[in-house]
Structures are given as C-alpha cells and as structure tokens.
C-alpha cells in the first residue's frame, strides 16, 4: 500500500471525527441559539435576537429555588460519594483480600443497570419503608449510582499507587494515621479531585433518578422536562443553557485548579 493511500485513510478518519463532533455539539448549539430569540416562539432562521428571557429567568424565584435544590443534592452527594468512593477504591485496587474479585464486579452492577428502573425500584422501596420523598431521598438514589462511578474513577488512580510508599513511610517511623495523612492521601489527591468532579457533574445533570425520587422537591433537569412536555416556552432553552454553562464552569474551573495544584506541587519540589 502506498503513502497516499495511508494519508487518505487518515484524512477520512479526521473528517469522520469532525462530523461526529459536530453531531455531538449540534443540539447544545441549537439550544444556545434558541435561548437568544426575542419572540415567544422559536423560528429559524432567527429574525429578532433578544435577551429578555435571560433576565426573566435569572430573576425568577422559582428558578433560584430549583437551582438551590439541585446544588444541595449535588454537594451532599459529592461529599458522601467521595468518602465512600475513596475507601471503596482502596478495597478495589489497593488491598488484596479474599472476595475482592467478587466485590469488584458487585461495584460495577449499579453502573451497568438501567437508571430509570433503579429510580423506580427506589421509589417503591422508599414507599415501602414509609419515607416521604424529598431531596434527601434523591441524594440516596444518586449515591447508589454515583458512588460506584466515583469508586471506579478513583480506583484507576489507586492502581498506579505504589504500596511500598506506605511501607517506606511506616519504616521511617510514621504511625498508621500519619502514613495516611502524609503519604496515601496526598498521592491519591488527583484521583479524589477528579472523582469529586465526576460526582458533582453527574448529580447536577441527572434526570432518570431524580424523576422518581425527589417527590415534591424539584431539580433543574426534572423541571425542564416538565416544561418541555407542557409546550414550548423560551425559558427552557435559556435555563438549559444556564445549567450547561454552570456545569462547564465547574468542569473547567476544576481542570484549572488541578493544573495549578500539580504545578505548585512541582514548583515546591
């Protein structure tokens, strides 16, 4: 096969990838465009741009309370999931113990499980236990799915952790707690960081679990869904854009913070 054939193949792959990327971003772009119309109904090409709906949405008390609920759930889920996931990941990848292989597969099951069915099963379960559905039950529901994901994300980091570091610290006179604080925790920090980022974003955007387990409390994705089904209002694309932008800010902020953190650590050395 000749060289030109080779590069033609590469060009085709590049073009295909660009097309898929466009496919991936088209709906978000559409939402963004739709959010900037002045008219009550979406009509493309847009004739009049306007940001009235943006100010309306920002000033809406209902939206604020929704955002507050979503944020509370995401923050609480993140905090708990990171602790569970950290120890879960140590059990997953760091220690060798009887039953570990079984445990590893068990942890994966909730990830490989339809979320809507999990949501409904939890709805039934909470009802059977006599719980009143609220944002607190939603936290539990999110955790069942997110804690295993965080465990897995952290486990990848833990795999590259050299256990002899802990042994060296102990050998140098550190107690078990000191070893944990001075060696294990800082070395695994990047994993903890990306794990918490995952937890926050997955909880913030979750729809199928929230749909069935929040009860009277409403989250942003759930509210948006109700509005979508009820008929078009320009508030939907606006709120969709805001919610997406918030997630993007967290993601890039987190990424930057991580970059700075590793740079500082390198500079300190």
């Amino acid at each position: 096969m000749s060289d030109s054939n080779y590069s033609v193949r590469h060009i085709l792959i590049g073009v295909w990838t660009a097309a898929v990327l466009m496919f991936v971003f088209l709906p978000s772009a559409t939402i963004l465009i739709a959010s900037m119309t002045a008219s009550r109904y979406f009509q493309f090409p847009i004739t009049a741009f306007g940001f009235d709906w943006w100010s309306k949405t920002f000033n809406s008390l209902e939206v604020r309370s929704l955002a507050y609920t979503s944020l509370s759930i995401a923050v609480v889920v993140t905090l708990i999931a990171v602790v569970l996931g950290f120890f879960g990941a140590l059990a997953f990848a760091r220690y060798d113990w009887r039953g570990r292989k079984l445990y590893q597969k068990f942890i994966l099951l909730p990830i490989f499980f339809p979320q809507s069915v999990l949501g409904l099963a939890l709805l039934l379960w909470f009802n059977a236990l006599g719980f009143t559905l609220s944002w607190k039950t939603a936290v539990l529901a999110h955790l069942v799915w997110i804690a295993p994901v965080v465990t897995l994300v952290m486990a990848i980091q833990v795999y590259s952790f050299d256990p002899s570091l802990e042994e060296a610290a102990t050998d140098l006179g550190a107690s078990r707690w000191q070893t944990f604080r001075e060696v294990t925790l800082p070395v695994l920090m990047p994993g903890i960081f990306s794990g918490s980022l995952f937890a926050f974003l997955l909880s913030w955007g979750n729809f199928p679990l929230s749909l069935f387990t929040t009860g009277a409390d409403n989250t942003l994705p759930k509210y948006l869904y109700a509005k979508m089904v009820a008929g078009y209002t320009p508030g939907v694309p606006v709120l969709g854009t805001i919610s997406t932008a918030a997630a993007a800010i967290v993601l890039f902020g987190g990424y930057l913070a991580m970059l700075l953190l590793t740079r500082n650590r390198k500079a300190a050395l």
């Binding site: 590893q104 499980f113 339809p114």
Partner: protein, 286 residues
Amino acid sequence: MSGDSSFLAQPGRRAAIPIMVLLLLGFVAPLLAVVGFSFMPPRTFGLWHEPSLENYERIFSDNTYVSLLWSLGLASLTVVLLALICYPVAYGLVRVFGRWSTALTLLFTIPLIVSENIRLYGWVLFFIKGGVLPGTLKALFGVEMGDFLFTPAAVLFGMVYVYLPFMLFPMTLGIAMVPNQMREAARDLGASRWQVFREVELPLSTPGLMIGSLLTFVLAVGAIAEAKVLGGQRIIPITHDIEIAFTYAQNWPLGAALAVLLMLVVSVLVLTVLKRFDLDQILGKR
C-alpha cells in the same frame, strides 16, 4: 486468617464496608423488594399477600411484552450503530490525532455534563417545523422537510446520540490496549493493513468493544427520556410501561413484574460479559 473474629482484620474488607452497606441498602434491597412485589396480586401495596404469578401472566396475555421487545430491539440497533460510528473515531483518538487527542477527548466528554433531556430537547428544536434544519432547508432551497420527530427513527437517533460517549471511551481504551509493536510485528510478518486489523487489532481490542457495547445496551434498554422527548409517545419502551404502572396506574405488582423481566435480561448479559474480564488487568494496565 479469615476466622470469624478476624473477619475485619484485612484492611481491604474494612475499606469495602461503607460502600457495601450503601449498595446493600440502596441497590440490593430495593431490587429484592421489586422481585417480591412482582409476585403480589395486582393493585396491592404490601408484601404480605399470597404470592401469585398473575402479573407475569398478564404481561404475556396483554401484549405488554411488546414494549420489552421494542426496548431490546432499539437497544440492539443502538449498539450496532454506535459500534460503527465510534470505531473510526476511537481509532483516530489512539493512533492518528497524536497530541490533539487529549483536547478532542475533552470535547467528546463535555456533552456528558449536560443533562440528557436538555440535549435531546436541542434535537427537538433542531428538527421541529420551523426549527434549525427545516428552517434552513426552507430558507435556502425552498424545500419542505417531512416529519422526522416523534417517529421510532427519532427515538433511535436520540439513543445513538445520548449514549455515544459510553461506546466511544471504552472502545478507545480497548484500542489503546493493543501495543504498537503487536501491529508492527504483524505487518512485518507480511500482513496487509486489513489483515493487521482483522487478525490482531480487532481481537485484541475486543475487551473495550465488549464493555462499550454492554454499557450502551444496558443504558439504552433503560432509556426513558429519548422516547418521552423525541418519540412523542409514539413508541412505548418498557421503562415507560413500568413508570405508568408505578405512578398513574398505581399497580405496583405489575410494574415490578415488568421491571423484573428487564432486570433478568440485563443481569444475564452483564454477568456473562463481566465474568470474562479481569478488572485488575483492564483498569490497572497503564
């Protein structure tokens, strides 16, 4: 070493306890409850009735199982389409794009942080009458576009869209697991590019392909938002039936029986596939 008194002596076991407790109470117990409810008489709300198979009989006599077939069929199609769409991209990310790969991977990750129903709604605005695509076609060519929204094809389209990253990333990992020297060795032994692909690259990247397929299938079988947002109730996936039974119809035992059927399909698949993999090897290989 593992006598009763020293059950917790192994640090791994201690570390596993918190998440195990969560999953036992929040995953295993609810699923057991669902299984239990599925054997209760219809429209009852407790677990203390005489068990019966009435719900399962109803599913098959009432044609409710059709929705299960819809879900399985759509999920299978989603997996096949995604495998075809993602392979060239995954291959490119590992072998072609070089230093651009990280940035491209990040770009593919971003949609994951956007709630799926928002993204699906983007497609609604894209395809709806007067939306981005029909509007553009009309303005440029004066062509009226036929209805695409609210058809089975639209649901499939939405599923392919939403679950793309779940196929792409495991696949990328799978392809990255094939050492470059393996490919070179095959080539050096006389294999053409196609033979290298068929004999070495594809079989060695199957773990990634399998995990990606499994993940997309399971997620797609449980898909609910796609049919709601893009399908306009034209297609009733099993998840929708389950939801109706649990909510409006207030028939928990029927919903539970449907959920059990779905869980059976999913768990048989997941357990057979997962059994074949050593997770230490897949995740720990760096």
